[in-house]
């Protein structure tokens, strides 16, 4: 697969046809925000600890803004990418960085997502991915498991039943994209049928909005979406609609009842009632930028029909949701809280959420 411009790659990465609207943003402050991880590459002290994933999402943001990436910055990014190359794929951070030294060696094996992000960065910067293609292709098919899932089994050896949804589906998506970037047709990728069955199984009973979005993206890339969408329209629509919170004007990533009831010390699958409720009474969830953007994408670029009608009905609220989000240091994000802990779990704002804010508010504006 070849791209003639960064924007063509971004449209393919998001599989979005709706034009992105930037007029309501302070583009200077957005540019500064996206540029931050790249600026860390200037400094000898910080350059070794920059992650590939941060740079990829920052670059996506900068190219959405049509910002110019200086040659000096591109050279710094090349330096980062070279340090992550293992001859079979890419690692998430330079392997000679001080931070890498404290990491377990398994965390520094080449993995699906870092390899996809690195190729994505090269494409965004207009670089040739050729020098790396052969090495990746030599190893790439070993990542395709007979179960249909895609991951480097040397990187993570956990049995399927104990893996988390976001891992399996996100790596399936990135593995598929990687295959397409390397010029392989999805049908030629191993275990295509099992993969299709896994993804349709998830769509039938989704648990996380992000994973549902990723699963539908996979089906689109596999050219299976048009065949499947009639059958799954209703289930996707009712899942997404049930995650809308009128008071918050947005959509939630998950519902406690779906993801917080376990077969563990009184937590049984599907159990309802006081005991189960007690287990998450101190936990928090709120509508998020990611879940709301993915809900809009599912309604507008995905299933349409019933879900699109619902989105149109709630259109003003959803536009308001994006307008209400606070811009922090130029970026956007939905902080994660754990029980009554005061520190938020992870960064409050991220590049991926900031890109999603742009995408989500653009989608909301056409409702």
């Amino acid at each position: 697969m070849t791209f003639t411009s960064a924007s063509e790659f971004i449209s393919w990465h998001y599989l979005i046809e709706t034009p992105l609207r930037l007029s309501k943003y302070n583009q200077r402050s957005l540019t500064d925000f996206f540029y931050r991880p790249i600026s860390y590459l200037h400094d000898e002290k910080t350059r070794s600890n920059v992650f590939i994933s941060d740079v990829f999402h920052s670059l996506v943001g900068l190219y959405i803004l049509n910002a110019t990436i200086l040659d000096a910055d591109k050279n710094n990014i090349d330096y980062l990418i070279k340090g992550c190359w293992t001859s079979k794929g890419f690692t998430p951070i330079r392997r000679d960085s001080p931070y890498a030294k404290i990491l377990n060696r398994k965390l520094l094996l080449e993995d699906v997502y870092s390899t996809y992000y690195c190729l994505g960065i090269l494409i965004l910067m207009g670089r040739d991915i050729g020098p790396y293609s052969e090495g990746i292709l030599g190893n790439f098919k070993s990542w395709f498991q007979s179960t249909g899932w895609i991951y480097n089994a040397d990187w993570t050896e956990t049995i399927i039943e104990r893996r988390l949804d976001i891992e399996l589906i996100q790596q399936a998506l990135m593995g598929l994209k990687l295959g397409l970037l390397l010029g392989t047709e999805h049908r030629d990728l191993p275990y295509d049928e099992q993969r299709l069955s896994n993804l349709l199984g998830y769509i039938e009973k989704p648990r996380y909005m992000t994973s549902l979005y990723h699963a539908v993206l996979c089906l689109k890339l596999m050219q299976q979406w048009d065949k499947s969408k009639e059958k799954y329209n209703d289930v996707i629509a009712s899942y997404v609609i049930s995650h809308f919170e009128e008071n918050e004007k947005g959509f939630r990533e998950y519902q406690f009842g779906d993801v917080k009831i376990f077969n563990y010390r009184g937590m049984e699958d599907g159990a309802k009632g006081a005991t189960a409720k007690h287990r998450f009474q101190s936990d928090y969830i709120t509508s998020s930028i990611n879940a709301t953007t993915y809900s809009l994408w599912l309604g507008i670029e995905g299933v349409r029909n019933k879900l699109l009608d619902f989105l149109k009905l709630k259109g003003k609220l959803i536009v308001q949701f994006f307008d209400d989000q606070k811009c922090v240091d130029g970026g956007y994000g939905t902080p994660i809280k754990i029980a009554k802990y005061t520190a938020t779990f992870g960064p409050d704002v991220t590049s991926i959420e900031t890109c999603n804010h742009i995408m989500g508010s653009s989608l909301a504006s056409i409702l």
Binding site: K106, Y113, T156, T158, L164, Y208, V259, I336, K340, P347
Partner: protein, 480 residues
């Protein structure tokens, strides 16, 4: 050094009248436990009965009045109990303690009885998973018990009756004494723990009947005591004889203690071995097989309130299997190591402050620390993966090994050092994330193995074998 053979000295006194007068009988406490903040409030009325006793009752609850000693002597053992209760004691409902180790349960029961003599009767709840009774090894015993009950009642007993009798027989063999036990109840549930056939999920919960209204009072005493130790000062009603953070009357002569039988362990071949040691003016260096693993210990260790509280909290929140702590002197125990698990900054603070009253060099002691995330918080971790655009992959076949995604490893460290400021001082020892257990994200500290034998010997002796430790005590004044 002049050796004085005597009992461990008391460290202070809690005057309940002063304690209650200082807050006008109105107790407000904020308990931070497993990431939750629980506010508890209770108003008490109180009056002196005589010079030694106080009558106390929740406001307007005449029927609930109890008479208890007005002054509590603070011994090392009482502080160890406070630490234990702070970790594993009931924070809601009745005063109670969950623990499957009978020695610890008895220790706690004695301490509660010491504070509230004859005030409450006990109820014992025994919990077990129904999966345990699927074990092939116990079928013979279950059959025998079934036959006995059949003879007693003249008909076939139900499966549950037989299982309950099995647990009751087992319990009575333990010789477990917890004051006046009014009732022993047994709960066998498929929801209790293990999913594996034959696997035990045994737990004993001892609670004090009708003590619910006095739980805030006990928690207040414990909290005030711990805070006064951490702040190194007297609180109203909490009187220390010396600085509770760093001073004590009793010191342990480390060199002699190390040479004694108290610090010996059994090798796989059944031989008793101790530490090799080198001594200089300020410290003792100990190692087991190789000097490369040596750890420096202070030459004398002060039995401070801080140290005692830490040992109590360790009994509750230490990651070492409790059983090993009672058997490591009699049989070869592998993987004996100091490990501390907590979701509270205060407990972590206390652990670090106290452990360096024993050991000297952080590099020799601390191996690493990590963030553990339980199944209940996988949802939030998934959402974090969505924010960062990275997969949350687990490690090991069962998923409880080192978590993958270097980005998550980095972000978890940032979260941990923000949530638990004490961990900033230990940032360079951070290692990784593990998805394990069910609970709230928490800090797990792991120490190098050389230190374990000494640490556990001292902890077990201070808690359970005061007699055995007397010969190694010296009067701190003679040290100065």
């Amino acid at each position: 050094m002049k050796k004085v053979k005597r009992k461990l000295a008391n460290l202070g006194e809690i005057n309940l009248v002063e304690l209650l007068q200082a807050c006008n009988g109105s107790i407000t406490i904020q308990l931070i436990d497993a990431g939750m903040i629980r506010d508890q409030e209770m108003e008490y009325e109180f009056e002196l009965v005589d010079t030694e006793s106080i009558c106390i009752m929740p406001k307007g609850k005449e029927k609930s009045r109890i008479i208890i000693p007005s002054k509590i002597v603070v011994s090392p053992k009482l502080l160890i109990f406070f630490g234990m209760y702070d970790g594993d004691g009931n924070k809601t409902g009745n005063i109670g303690f969950a623990q499957n180790n009978t020695e610890l349960q008895t220790f706690v029961a004695d301490a509660i009885e010491f504070i509230f003599p004859k005030a409450f009767k006990s109820k014992v709840n025994i919990l077990e998973s129904s999966k345990f009774f699927e074990s092939d090894e116990i079928q013979h015993d279950l059959q025998r018990i079934g036959n006995t009950i059949r003879k007693e009642i003249g008909q076939s007993p139900s499966k549950e009756e037989v299982q309950k009798r099995y647990l009751l027989e087992e319990f009575s063999k333990m010789g477990f004494q917890v004051g006046t036990t009014e009732k022993v109840s047994i709960t066998i549930s498929p929801k209790k723990g293990g999913e594996i056939k034959g696997k035990r999920s045994y737990e004993i919960i001892v609670e004090k009947l009708n003590s619910r209204l006095f739980l805030p009072f006990l928690l207040y005493i414990i909290k005030q005591t711990i805070d006064s130790i951490l702040e190194s000062k007297q609180f109203p009603g909490i009187h220390w004889f010396l600085d509770p953070n760093k001073e004590a009357f009793d010191c342990l002569d480390v060199e002699k203690y190390i040479q004694s039988d108290r610090c010996k362990y059994l090798t796989p071949s059944g031989r008793k071995r101790g530490y090799s040691k080198r001594t200089n003016d300020s410290h003792v260096q100990i190692y087991k097989s190789s000097p490369a693993t040596l750890v420096k210990i202070r030459k004398v260790i002060y039995v401070t309130p801080l140290l005692c509280i830490m040992f109590g909290i360790y009994w509750a929140e230490g990651t070492t299997t409790k059983k090993k702590l009672f058997t490591f002197r009699e049989r070869n125990e592998t993987n004996l190591g100091i490990g501390f698990n907590s979701s509270e900054n205060k407990s972590l603070h206390l652990f670090f402050d106290a452990i360096f009253q024993i050991f000297l060099e952080p590099n020799e002691l601390i191996s690493c620390w990590l963030v553990k995330i339980g199944a209940k918080y996988h949802a939030e971790t998934n959402a974090l993966g969505s924010k960062l655009g990275v997969p949350i992959a687990r490690g090991g076949p069962g998923g409880d090994g080192i978590a993958r995604s270097a980005e998550i490893t980095r972000v978890a460290k940032e979260w941990a050092t923000n949530q638990f400021p004490i961990m900033r001082s230990w940032a360079k020892y951070y290692s990784h994330v593990e998805f394990t257990g069910a609970g709230i994200p928490r800090i797990d500290i792991r120490c190098r193995p050389t230190s374990a034998l000494f640490f556990f010997s001292l902890m077990v002796d201070l808690t359970f074998c005061e007699d055995a430790i007397y010969p190694f005590l010296v009067d701190c004044r003679s040290v100065k």
